[in-house]
């Protein structure tokens, strides 16, 4: 078995030390990422963090200035047809030709995908409540987003790439339809990658996440593993502090005098032991939300 085949069976996407600059702006720096087959992968980061640039490398729309990108074990820049034929892609811009009618764009797009499922496409169209005779330019932003989602899904892709899919979709579609589709695809053993600002959505859908900030991956693991490794402790010390002492795995400290709240990363028992060593009483203890994890990591970066 060749190397590429071995790689493709283990992971859908393999990115090694990928760097990319636009002029003097560094968009990605030494990014390494492996996304396993199956499941939902969430890519989270702020504006300009590098999420879309990373997705475009996966789609073969940017060549790797240094490092390498393999999708299904194939270089997407050198072999776009082989890679793109197996991907369903919904861009952030929803930039489909707006002069076409819904039915026309379905027929046109179908030509490019041998695996296009006409029956499924019709089901999606009805589910999304799209009039086949409507021109896309006459659709609302939300309806246009549904058209894009339909086009990305109708050939039952092995890999679904959604760049900010929630943008433009109303809450009903976002919660009920998008979530259901994403879960169905993942349950069928296919892979979904989606980028989002909406961390509650990522928390609800993703199995694994990568947090990207300033072109670097600052966190990458299974979501539950990440959530279990971040803790918030409120400690009461015997004596007041102007600046609370550091304990193992501290990301951020907030408070004054006797009572301080710590955001920590690490094993819970070890963190509790470290707190006791400082003769501090644990007043409150909780896991961090993804939102808190994101903010604390980005702030620290």
């Amino acid at each position: 078995m060749s190397d590429s085949t071995q790689m493709s069976s283990a992971s859908v996407i393999e990115i090694q030390r990928l760097s990319r600059s636009f002029g003097d702006k560094r968009a990605l720096h030494e990014v390494s990422l492996s996304i396993p087959r199956g499941g939902v992968f969430g890519l989270i980061g702020g504006n300009g963090a590098g999420k879309t640039t990373l997705i475009k490398h996966i789609m073969g729309m940017h060549y790797a200035q240094s490092g390498s990108v393999r999708v299904f074990g194939i270089d997407p820049v050198a072999h776009p047809v082989e890679v793109l034929g197996r991907i369903g892609y919904m861009s952030e811009e929803r930039d489909v030709p707006n002069w076409m009618r819904v039915k026309e764009i379905m027929n046109y797009t179908q030509t490019f995908y041998p695996a296009w499922d006409t029956k499924y496409a019709e089901e999606l169209r009805e589910m999304f409540d799209l009039d086949p005779k409507q021109r896309i330019r006459n659709l609302s932003r939300g309806q246009a987003a549904r058209v894009c989602l339909l086009l990305a899904l109708a050939h039952r892709p092995e890999l679904l790439v959604l760049d900010e899919p929630s943008s433009g979709l109303d809450p009903v579609v976002r919660r009920d339809i998008l979530a259901a589709i994403v879960r169905t695809i993942a349950d069928e053993g296919r892979t979904v990658i989606f980028s989002s600002h909406l961390l509650d959505e990522v928390e609800r859908l993703a199995d694994r996440i990568a947090m990207i900030h300033d072109g670097k991956i600052i966190l990458h693991d299974r979501l539950d593993t990440i959530k279990e490794s971040f803790h918030r402790f409120t400690l009461r010390f015997e004596q007041p502090f102007n600046e609370a002492p550091l304990i193992l795995g501290t990301i951020e400290r907030q408070g004054a005098g006797h009572e301080w709240t710590y955001f920590c990363r690490g094993d819970r028992d070890q963190l509790i032991q470290a707190a006791r060593t400082l003769r501090a009483e644990i007043v409150q203890e909780s896991l961090l939300s993804l939102d808190d994890i994101f903010v604390s990591n980005v702030t620290r970066s």
Binding site: A27, M61, K103, T111, F112
Partner: protein
Amino acid sequence: MHTITAAMAWEYFARNRWTLLLFPFVANLMPIFVLGALSGYSVNFGSKEFIGIYLGFVLYTTAIIGIGVLMTQGSISRFYLKPLSTTTMVNFFFWGGGILVATEIACSIAIWNNLFDANWPIAGPVLFAIALWGSFQPLLRVPVKSISGIVTAGAIVAVVGYWFLSRHNELEGHGKNYWHNISSFDLLFAAVAISVGYGLTLWRVRWDRSGRQLTTLTDRIEETLERWLSQYFTLSHTFSSPLRAHRWFDFQTRTFMLPLVCLLFLGAIWIIALGMAAYHQDHKIGIEVIFACTNITAVAQLIIAFIIGMVMIQGYQWNSGRKMRGQDQVAMKPSEYRIGHYLHSLPISTTHMARAILQSAAWSIGASAVMMSLSLGLLWAWISLTNFNMHTLIKPEIKFWQLAIISVSFYVLLPFALMNNIATFTLVVNRHVWLPPFIIGTVVLFAVWPLFVGIVLVAAVLGLLIYCTNQCLKRKDVTPLATSAIWCSGAIASIALALSFRPEDLGIASVIAALLGTLTILPFFSLPLALRYHRTT
């Protein structure tokens, strides 16, 4: 910034640094090449042929410069949410654009005059350009996307165009002259066109800014027609291959404009010519109008070919590296991305995409060529039936069929070369800022040493062609057999074009004709490379 106008002017010039140079450059390209090619011969600028050439140049330059200023100005609606009065906005777009158009045209003709001692009038074309600019503003500032828009645009072109051509006695077919003296009527005509245009633009922008829509009777008819047509003409079939699908897409999006404009022009010309012949009961007038206006149709074809080439930016463009820098990334609106993401995410090879684009161009130009041939054939039939002495139109040593074959060959080759090379150029150019100044330098040198620079250009284009062919063969974009066929066709076309001139006229004109042949086959090899380069930024 001290004033709002200064801030808007700064934004305009800062945003369009290179594009502002590109359009006047393209507008001057053809006149400088043609005049440069003819500079080695003893030419009579006062002859009716040269007045015709001059008119063609003025119309072409006005259109390209006008389109350039419009495109660089962008949509007025982006200022709607700024605390600006509508009058300030309209003044900036209307008068600012008008001054720019007038200046660029005056400078262009002054350059031709200086380089080639043409002594062509400047004031007339400038007045015409301002009047045309002003009359079109109500339609363009708040775009009319309906049949009524096309009808109104046609009416404006007919009225202002007739005024301009009649100043040169162009439509009377005899006694052509340059427009040196601007009469009071001309000034009044221009003033009325500009005033009406300004008032209507202000009114339309006010309506649009306040969210009101102007629905005309034709809009309602079109809406009804659209609803009715959608019952029967929604695309229901699928395509047998991605190449065919993309060819259909490219034709629908870009290249259909060429045969459509050709059909509208020729249809209008024939109706006017037949009407004039019937009114005056004189076949001569009708025949002369068609003969003169066929050349104007050819110029219109070139302008449309240029626009189609530029549409490549609009349609296929997407976030190239340059636009990703700094604030641009955040500031860009989704509409500015056009459909690049969708197109480039489709699993179609770049080779097939390039082939589809070239085939769509060939279809549209083929359809136009058939219409042109048909028009010339009908003209020949009319001439034969009425025993009209055609030597009043063309020189005795040239036969009508020879002229028709040469004309149609140029109608085919010139738009094809222009359309596809502009498209290729625009896909690559924004990553190589040294290209525009390099080409501008070449054109300036051509005006001084036409034969030497002409030969260097042929050599350079040939070198580029060899490089692109080699790359395409390596990447298997074309088969060796297809490459041989394309090269043979190009060689035959180049030699035939070069030899189409009389032996005593062989020289720079032949070199330019050979260059046209080479440029016609260049896109077969350069477009796949440019698309690939563009697709994987």
